[in-house]
């Protein structure tokens, strides 16, 4: 059976997710994980934050922020297990777990962002 490899497509998702994660995650984690809880900066109030997240563009950004980096994780983590721990005989199980997790996370993000009360 001559099947076209889907490795280039997965690599594209890995790469796009890597860019999104690199550009947005440090600042988001700095704000929500350290600056806001420790009082270095004041976060916006609930209503303002909710209004912001309801904006279609913000929803799109959040969806992309959740989805692509999960595929980045799936691809990289798969090869970490493959090369780092040399678990080669479990390749199928690992792929299923990694990409399946990314697809499930994407679906969840889509659901949560689609209907915000």
């Amino acid at each position: 059976m001559s099947k076209k490899s889907n490795e280039p497509f997965l690599w594209f998702l890995f790469s796009a997710g890597g860019v999104v994660a690199a550009l947005l995650m440090p600042v988001l984690l700095f704000l929500h994980g350290l600056a806001f809880p420790l009082g270095w900066l004041q976060p916006s109030g609930y209503e303002t934050t909710l209004a912001l997240v309801k904006n279609p563009l913000a929803r799109l950004v959040l969806f992309v922020l959740c989805s692509l980096p999960l595929f980045h994780w799936a691809h990289r983590f798969r090869f970490t297990l493959y090369d780092g721990l040399q678990i080669k005989h479990l390749n199928e199980v690992i792929s299923f777990f990694c990409y399946g997790g990314a697809i499930a996370g994407t679906a969840l993000a889509g659901y949560l962002l689609w209907n915000i009360p």
Binding site: L28, P37, T80
Partner: protein, 138 residues
Amino acid sequence: MNQTPAYTTHHPRWYRTRVSTYWWSRKWAYFRFIVRELTSIAVAYVVVLTLVQIQALRQGADEYAEFQELLRKPLLLSLNMIALFFVLYHAITWFNLAPKAVVAHFRGKRISDTLIKASNYVVWLAISGGVIWLLSGG
């Protein structure tokens, strides 16, 4: 080397040296490689944290305040500090590798690695500043 191996009835076994599972701990460069690969766990963690935050936001003001209170716990503060280190490590190694992945030309000349790297960092700073401006205050 010049001798033809004798005929065997069984399939000859390939010569492969066994590689230790901890091969990456032997050399600083290998170790940095594994750390870079492990940043993906922090990346996935940030996604999970974001999803939990969105869910708290959907549920209402009280639930969102509860989520914010949770983030003040020492356990989560330390976890987030570690995750921030890994996410930063990812960002820096990613931008530094960008010139290797992007081969861009301008007026027939290849854009230098330094310029590609620098523009990545400029965009990163601009976006980070924008996000801080957007999410803080009030």
